[in-house]
């Protein structure tokens, strides 16, 4: 089986030769190819080279488009910085309030350079992977995109105290993200992964979820013409899944490393794909043996779960992570035999 076939079998609950796995290994691709990060995150060919190197070295079954939310903010006029070997960080938002954000020119999917970078990454990777691995387009949802345009505090402030403009901004963001997701699917992505932190009870109130953020997600997700993975985005997800259950087109869930996979499965039911729960940003602090043992423990725990994909959660695997640490994940997966429902 190749990676895409393994992922499709996992989605369908059909037998597959070994568990599928996913790495959030954007920075590892730059390390493997020796490309400076400033070029890697602006040149789609360089990014595709890096991810093909990740695929050849570790053989993950899913490959990600850039997990680069700053590019979405930059498309609206926000600025970002790259320091050292870290992924870009949003430095200055484009707007100071939801009201101001609504007056910004809306970026064009066909010509805005940062959006073209994201789309070209998907096109290049789709052409090179040729269906050997599942290709995931990574985006922020309508409730998180405003953070990248105006920053966290003004967005929280708008959701709590300026609902008219918050709702109007989410409507525009929802339409924008649905159009961008559909463009990525047309460009060759098989799946779209989205974060939705501002629909979490750990971030906003239940009333905000009920009246503002959840309706926005429903409207936006409904317009996306492909399967979606909902990513925990940094918040714990398992205890709060009820805020997300029933959203249109969601076929998979990436939980936080602190979450219980058993709890998540119990809430989700038997069929949705469940992904997790290695802590990606901590992989540089552990030994290959410890990572291998952790993978074995997780895989043994999910041995009876035909819809499980081992995945690193949270942010990117750090650049300085020894490659043998990442290889330990591949090793643990390859030691397992077939998965049968």
């Amino acid at each position: 089986m190749n990676g895409l076939e393994r992922v499709l079998a996992t989605v369908a609950g059909r037998p597959h030769d070994r568990p599928a796995f996913l790495l959030n290994a954007g920075l590892a691709g730059a390390k493997l190819t020796g490309v400076p990060l400033a070029r890697y995150f602006t040149d789609a060919s360089a990014y595709a080279d890096g991810q093909c190197a990740v695929r050849e070295t570790f053989e993950p079954d899913l490959i990600l488009s850039p997990f680069l939310f700053t590019a979405l903010g930059e498309a609206f006029g926000s600025t970002s910085v790259i320091r050292g070997n870290s992924a870009p960080n949003l430095a200055r938002p484009a707007a100071a309030s939801a009201e101001e954000a609504l007056r910004l020119p809306w970026p064009d999917l066909e010509s805005q350079p940062r959006l073209l970078y994201l789309r070209d990454c998907v096109r290049e990777l789709a052409g090179r992977l040729q269906g050997e691995a599942a290709l995931v387009g990574v985006l922020a949802s309508s409730v998180d995109l405003p953070v990248l345009i105006l920053g966290m505090e003004p967005w929280l402030d708008a959701l709590l105290f300026d609902r008219r403009n918050a709702q109007a901004l989410m409507e525009r963001c929802g339409e924008f993200i649905a159009n961008l997701a559909n463009a990525l699917l047309e460009d060759g992505a098989n799946i779209i992964a989205l974060s939705a932190n501002f629909n979490s009870p750990t971030v906003v109130t239940e009333e905000v979820i009920r009246s503002l953020t959840r309706p926005s997600l429903e409207a936006s997700f409904r317009e996306i013409r492909g399967p979606l993975i909902l990513h925990h985005g940094g918040c714990r997800l398992a205890p709060h899944l009820k805020s997300y259950l029933g959203l249109p087109n969601v076929a998979g869930w990436v939980v936080d490393a602190r979450d219980s996979l058993a709890e998540a499965r119990s809430t989700l039911g038997a069929d949705p794909v469940l992904l997790g729960n290695l802590e990606g940003p901590a992989l540089d602090t552990r030994s290959p043996e410890a990572i291998h043992a952790e993978c074995q423990r997780i895989l043994a725990d999910r041995a009876e779960d035909p819809h499980f994909i081992l995945a690193t959660s949270q942010a990117d695997i750090p650049y300085d992570t020894p490659l043998e640490n990442i290889a330990a994940i591949r090793q643990a997966v390859s030691e397992l035999r077939a998965v049968a429902p």
Binding site: N89, A91, M152, E153, L160, V204, T205, E207, A315, P318
Partner: protein, 233 residues
Amino acid sequence: MPDAQQAGIIKAIRCADRAGANLIIDTWAAGHSYEAAVMDLLTPTLESFGELWASAGGESSLAQGYVASKIAEDVLAKVLEERRKTNADVPLSKGAVVVGNVQDDYHPLGRKMISAFLRFSGWEVHDLGVDVSPEEFLDKAESLGARVIGASAMMYSTARNIGNLREEIDRRGFTGRIQLAVGGAVFKLRPELVAEFGGDGTAASALSASPLFDDLWNRSLAFETEKAKAETP
């Protein structure tokens, strides 16, 4: 103890009802004063809410903490206005402290909430903003005689820069004299990083920042007392 009012304010915070909380406080202050509202009503209420927040493992909503910080800011502004109208003396501050996001960190929300709660509790807060170098932290702390620096970082990649701040404190000979409080989402995920990056303490929530700064300030004083004793022939 105004239990009904306290319960009303906590309920308002839980519902992110800033206006509702302010109405309760305004009504109370009309019969007393905003100064009294701070001492007798809002301070114990925020302490209770802080305990609830911490006991929830940091999983209460960010929105609730944010609203609480806004209410503290609102009331503090009213206290200042009340003092201005009555020409009342400004009470002595607990002391000058310096806060900021560490170098390369651009996530200001947590730092702003902490600043609001520290000011509410009587600290003279010097907020240096985002992306603050170790030299800027130390220059400001040195010029003010501050005994506590509060450094905020959201992610692991930027939290590592707290180690550079620790080195700068030590390099300038302020070990023990200047205490380093650290905070941010990454320290909730991985509490062991507080010690690993050289922090002297952290708080379970923004509302617990002031007790932490009290403790660190006292540790700094105790350090100097011990040092003076040791140096006395």
